[in-house]
Symmetry: C2
Subunit: 285 residues, 2 copies
Amino acid sequence: MQVIRKLPVSLPRDRGTIGFVPTMGYLHEGHLSLIRRCRSECDVTVMSIFVNPLQFGPGEDYDTYPRDEKRDLEMAEKAGVDYVFMPDVQTMYPRKPLTKVSVSKVTERLCGASRPGHFDGVATVVTKLFNLIRPDRAYFGLKDAQQVAVIRQMVDDLNIPVTIVPCPTVRESDGLALSSRNVRLSPEERKQAPVLYESLRLAERRAAEPGMTVGQLKSLITEHIGTAPLAVIDYVEVARFPSLETPEDGVPLSEELANGPLLAALAVKFGQTRLIDNILLGERA
Amino acid sequence: MQVIRKLPVSLPRDRGTIGFVPTMGYLHEGHLSLIRRCRSECDVTVMSIFVNPLQFGPGEDYDTYPRDEKRDLEMAEKAGVDYVFMPDVQTMYPRKPLTKVSVSKVTERLCGASRPGHFDGVATVVTKLFNLIRPDRAYFGLKDAQQVAVIRQMVDDLNIPVTIVPCPTVRESDGLALSSRNVRLSPEERKQAPVLYESLRLAERRAAEPGMTVGQLKSLITEHIGTAPLAVIDYVEVARFPSLETPEDGVPLSEELANGPLLAALAVKFGQTRLIDNILLGERA
């Protein structure tokens, strides 16, 4: 495995398809599942590790975002990554960047509403990474479903020659979605955090009930999260996927699902730690 | 010569470097000079012809922008272009685009101030064309000096793997900068239009006078344009190049020029036709 810290990024362009797994490091099984998928589909596997300041707002956790370079490199090596691109901030942003890639509509609800500018930062850094790595395929976890929707929209709109491969969320045995931020949960918060996925599974089971509306489904989720005393809801939303348009509360779910899948998505804070999760309803198998 | 109208754009990627000349068609000697430069430096020459609706504001001349597909193709063929990419609007924008590439600062003055959104449209379509063509080098005329500054900034900021080659403005024998829009000038407007370059040359000659300030230079240009009765000034500016920051009027030119080149730039309307021109002062030869 080769570690690249400076530009240019020199990769072998004659050894077949290049697969790319962009990450912010502090690797967990979710990242490893992306690497496995990438290795099974591509000839060369490139991972990037970069905590991108551009996608953190003021007061967000850029400074305290968990980092462990040594452990990450060991895990990447063991997972069979061929190249790790691990730039510092100065390498990625040698001057104050004046250029921004922004996606409208898809970024207006859910995390986009709670974190203004976040998805501009994501779209901009992903564009930079795609230009540096020039991969054939890039792998993203569906835990960040809105991120997947934003990047697909951007790739379509800008004719970026990369195939986006969305991959399923990986979970702990009690259902908690893997996240680098989970390490920040206190023991009691950790104990309560599985309520998020429980509420989404509850929504999934009850989505088919006759007469169930979008608003009722959101209420079910909200109420179930309320059973965890430490949970503070940021948002609970039901949105069309991948457009992320949000239907009116009164609309029957069956009507919506006839037109395509819906994303039930939530963001909940436990103490200082903001967790997100989601589930796709009515997805064709 | 091969004409490509639909996606994907298939180009030979094993025949050496690919050079790219993006245009809005209605070709003139300025475009041909870009093609010649491209052919002398690259193995494959690709030209695009696309009048990009995104970079025209409401009330601007998108509908009346001069077009002549047949003549353009004949000229491109004769000039030795290998591939012409000539998409229709539906091919470039199959859906309403939600993604925008925008550059701040560099776009705020000069044409950016007169044409809000123009450079977002330019940056976005150039990003799309670069992603479709994937050239090694791309050729732009310095008549659109701000466009060159914007695209260089964008390429730097987004790590786009393309070398931008700025090329000198080509002029009629009386000094008028070549532009597809020149055909729209009435005989009398055409007769007066050389006043633009005259005023810039005057500025160039007098820039070295002791005590000359930025403001005085702008006044000289403005006054000389005033000698043409049909000329209506949109702007006359002196700006640092390529940052396009504009120094205060009272600053001595000599002081500014010690720090780098200055761009004297103007936009002037003759009837419905808006012409731009510029000259670089203090450029190192």
